[in-house]
Symmetry: C2
Subunit: 244 residues, 2 copies
């Protein structure tokens, strides 16, 4: 028995997220099919971070156990030949049997990409959120500070979700502008469903002046989803890094 | 009568180039339809540079004459509402009647984008040429020098094309690497059909060692299309700038 680790990149526009769902195209479903073609096994795929429908990955990590004796190079090349072109294996390696893409991960970093200018871009219809109104980066940076550290993030996940422990620790939340794009980069050991996109939605309301930066602490303390802003769409969201 | 100038961006993957063609989707065809809806006129659209099927533009300039009294701001906003999302009007302005997007232009700058690494990118399937083999930037830069200045570029355009004057002057040809991408940027008053993509194909053969940089002058002197390398595909090609 071997444990194989893959690093994947994918454009999520054509998929209903990573996690397998009956009858819907998902990254995991497509990867399982390709692995079956290659090994005639049905390996259980473990992944570092569940990405939403339409969200992308520059660096998703998965692992699976196999009896196949194929070299890791062959795994990479054969999977890239079998997978659709919008899912790419960047690297493959054999790892100790105890390596677990999800439980061994120390942190995940996501990027949310915003195009902030007067007119949209034909090149980023599915890869960045277009915001034509003015955003104050200073206000957003000020607001971001209130998210840092450990908090109960109940206000930032759909009310129907139930978590035993709704506390999460945000290690970094960086905001920068590069030409017409605003990059919001956020690192934590783990996130709850919708959490990153609701944090970004709330920061946008701070940036446009609908909320004061300091109001974020009240929203966090309320532990009430209705207090936070709208969840932004998933097509601006990228899984960027998983650290072990 | 007014003369309106538009600057356009478009993702060319779904179009058979800029130039109108019967029964095929083209940028010009789609723009004419939108202008008709807006003005009930059938203006003749003049454009700075013909882009190929599948090629893109960050900065295409067009102009047309109209009797419409709509403000330039309304032209921009209404066209962006009427056009498909992969064609965007970045700006519109009223210009002197003698302004001609094609004949008034002093130079055109195109970019050819190459992804040069081991594995392809799911984010650049239609927006960069993927080259997995090693390319020497030094050799390519050395080869680029032989294209500069005025030459007969017959070797770099399909033999079936007939030009009264096959001489063109390349003002700049810059090659740089940014992360995994090679940017080839080329400026001239005008290009012949297929010329940029055949120059790039020839530079790739220099970069991979199939041709010596100095052989380029022999290829130019031969005035024979069979001497130059393969024409690279159009999905890596971008019209970047038109100067007046």
């Amino acid at each position: 028995m071997r444990n194989i680790k893959l690093v994947l990149q994918y454009d999520g526009r054509n998929y209903h997220g990573f996690q397998k769902q009956p009858k819907l195209p998902t990254i995991c479903g497509v990867l399982e099919k390709a692995l079956f073609k290659l090994t005639r096994e049905n390996p259980h795929i473990i992944y570092a971070s569940r990405t939403d429908k339409g969200a992308h990955a520059y660096h998703q990590v998965v692992n699976f156990k196999t009896y196949s004796s194929l070299s890791v190079d062959v795994f990479e090349k054969a999977l890239n030949a079998l997978l659709p072109k919008d899912i790419v294996v960047c690297s493959s390696s054999e790892v100790p049997l105890e390596f677990h893409a999800r439980f061994s991960a120390k942190s995940r970093t996501y990027l949310y990409l915003i195009l902030n200018r007067k007119f949209p871009s034909p090149f980023h219809l599915h890869s960045a959120l277009f915001i034509p109104y003015r955003l104050s980066l200073e206000r957003m940076k000020e607001g971001a500070k209130y998210f840092l550290g450990e908090h109960d993030f109940t206000s930032f996940t759909p009310s129907i979700e139930i978590y035993k422990n709704p506390n999460r620790t945000i290690n970094r939340l960086d905001i920068k502008k590069e030409e017409d794009f605003i990059h919001i980069s956020i690192t934590s050991k783990g996130f709850m469903r919708g959490m990153i996109r609701t944090i970004v939605g709330t920061l946008l309301d701070v940036g446009r002046g609908k909320l004061e930066p300091s109001e974020i602490s009240k929203i966090v303390e309320a532990k009430d989803r209705r207090m936070a802003s709208e969840t932004v769409p998933s097509h601006g969201l990228y899984l960027m890094k998983v650290e072990y």
